[in-house]
């Protein structure tokens, strides 16, 4: 493969603040329909823009990516030159990402994830589109066979709903809104608050007073997370052939992931409250340093495990009970949601007499705490591990509202066992399983003698 240059967008991080300094006054003037001011700002910032262009050109001209001796070499730098080599044999996953901004300039962001053991965990390069595809094909060839998992109809809707992450999207939206308001003034904030208040007035017709604002906020975040999921899973397909698992899709940000099947380290099924209602479960994969937590590879129904085994045969549902609750301590599981539930109940009882307007909010909180309590109670009976016939290790545990079933298929595991004196006397311990993806799975109250029998050679 002949040498290629990195795309100038790779170096945009070095000049982004200078660029923002130039672009924001121009944008503000354009948003105010003041073309004269926009032109004036442009002419004033022209020198800075030219300087930025010069820096980009110097970086671009000195950069080089080439393949030599079964390793990818990256050379870049103007004053201080750097040549880095990455062995191709250590690659476990490749991700091609094309957000709108990069599509406009014909670039693709290529992220190469390495297997554990190497010092470097991932390498991110921005390359011209065709060159990025060629390098990705060299590292992990694209499977020719298509048609593994292509959600359509109701299954597509389920996939969108189960891929949506309300908490993460809400967090990102709030951060982005704060940044945008700080750059473009309070006009956008007023607009967003106006929309939220209109929704609140609409909901106030159906809901008791006080709850409408809370539900308006939750509904807004839910809508945004579903919209984000809809865009990310647009025309999503996953297939597996030639030792490579390929997932691709996305409307605004097109993402293509190629995962080396032999490097898959764990396969996680998340049983969320939404998944329980829909009877479909999202399946996530991690391989080496690739964590893959943001998007599931597929959703599988309990009946449709054949499709799951076809695409992810590594996943092994436990064929025996994961634990015996005989030795477990119930307070270890229930103290957090239980304490939250009791505190909220006490506050609710007080609020009924003192401040009735708040009692509805507290009632919602009690509902969430009770849900978490039930989930932890399930964890008390099901949290544990077992070794499978296919030499993998299945872990099951519960956190907050979700139950996780993890099949660990790598030998490179480390264990940490912790015991309080009371737990040691009862013959139980907490087990933490560390994987090469730097995931740590924490299992509570497992039998100590079973942990001692755990061998590394799966």
């Amino acid at each position: 493969m002949k040498g290629i240059r990195l795309h100038p967008m790779h170096f945009i991080k070095y000049i982004k603040y200078a660029l923002l300094l130039c672009v924001i006054p121009i944008l503000q003037a354009i948003l105010a329909f003041d073309i004269a001011s926009a032109w004036l700002a442009f002419t004033q910032d022209l020198l800075i823009l030219l300087g930025c262009g010069g820096i980009l050109a110097a970086f671009w001209q000195s950069s080089r990516v080439f393949v030599e001796g079964n390793a990818v070499w990256v050379r870049w730098g103007v004053l201080v030159r750097q040549l880095s080599g990455y062995p191709c044999g250590q690659v476990c996953a490749v991700e091609l990402c094309r957000p709108v901004l990069l599509r406009l300039v014909g670039a693709t962001q290529l992220t190469v994830y390495f297997k554990a053991g190497s010092g470097l965990r991932r390498l991110r390069l921005t390359l011209p589109r065709q060159e990025a595809g060629r390098l990705a094909d060299f590292l992990l060839p694209e499977p020719k066979k298509l048609g593994g998992f292509e959600p359509a109809g109701a299954k597509r809707l389920v996939f969108i709903l189960l891929s949506a992450n309300m908490i993460a999207t809400g967090f990102v939206v709030v951060l982005a809104a704060r940044r945008t308001i700080s750059l473009f003034g309070t006009g956008l904030r007023d607009l967003a608050l106006g929309g939220l208040l209109r929704l609140e007035h609409l909901l106030a017709a159906f809901l008791p007073a006080g709850l409408s604002l809370l539900f308006a906020l939750l509904l807004s975040f839910f809508a945004l997370s579903v919209l984000d999921s809809l865009l990310r899973t647009f025309r999503f397909t996953a297939c597996r052939a030639g030792g490579v698992l390929l997932c691709r899709g996305g409307l605004l940000t097109y993402t293509e992931r190629r995962i080396l099947v032999s490097a898959i380290s764990s396969c996680t099924v998340r049983i969320t409250p939404a998944a329980r209602l829909l009877h479909y479960y999202p399946v996530y994969l991690s391989a080496g340093c690739f964590r893959g937590e943001d998007l599931p590879v597929l959703v599988s129904s309990r009946r449709g495990e054949a499709s799951l085994r076809r695409l992810v045969p590594e996943f092994c549902p436990p064929d025996q009970p994961l634990c015996s609750p005989r030795r477990k301590s119930l307070p270890q599981y229930l103290w957090k949601p239980g304490a939250a539930c009791l505190t909220l109940l006490a506050l609710w009882a007080v609020s009924l007499r003192v401040l009735p307007a708040v009692s509805l909010f507290l009632g919602v909180g009690i509902g969430f705490a009770a849900l978490s309590l039930l989930c932890q109670l399930e964890g008390f009976f099901t949290e544990g591990f077992c070794k499978n016939e296919n030499r993998s290790l299945t872990l099951g545990y519960s956190r907050l509202f979700t139950r996780y079933l993890v099949t660990v298929c790598t030998d490179d595991l480390s264990y940490t066992v912790t015991r309080l004196p009371t737990a040691a006397a009862a013959g139980r311990c907490d087990l933490r399983v560390h994987t090469p993806s730097r995931h740590t799975y924490h299992l509570r109250g497992v039998e100590f003698f079973r942990v001692q029998q755990l061998d590394f050679n799966l």
Partner: protein, 139 residues
């Protein structure tokens, strides 16, 4: 191959914690007066040296043919089991005080986690490093 923490290693941990106790004592001196500061410093220093001794008593490192096991803790027992092939690096750190005492801190990097071993003698840390890195590499 077994390794334990020496008494000088416990002393090193005690000295480090005493430095923290001095900082806490200084803060309390500024906030509440010299009696509070001196009292808390003496109390925390005593606790620091007790902690160092407890740290030493419960600590052992064992290297077998396939496995590295580290057990520590006096009340709260922690056992780490790491396959030797997963060890990716060993770092040894020493300060002027630790060199004076002939001990050092070792940081063992593995594929899934990094774990410290504080208070090994310098000779033991060399043996541990050789066992984990050189023997595994076949040298």
């Amino acid at each position: 191959m077994n390794f334990t923490i020496s008494r000088k290693g416990a002393l090193l941990v005690g000295c480090w914690l005493t430095a923290l106790a001095a900082a806490a004592g200084l803060l309390l001196w500024l906030l509440g007066g010299i009696c509070w500061g001196a009292g808390s410093f003496l109390l925390l220093s005593a606790a620091a040296f007790c902690f160092g001794e407890l740290h030493r008593r419960g600590y052992w490192v064992r290297v077998t043919e396939r496995e590295l096991s580290i057990e520590r803790g006096f009340f709260y027992r922690v056992l780490q089991r790491i396959p030797r092939r997963c060890v990716t690096g060993v770092n040894c750190f020493s300060s002027p005080l630790s060199r004076r005492l002939g001990v050092c801190a070792v940081l063992i990097h593995t594929t899934g986690l990094s774990t410290p071993v504080i208070g090994l003698s310098i000779a033991d840390s060399e043996r541990l490093r050789a066992a984990l890195i050189l023997e595994e590499a076949g040298e």
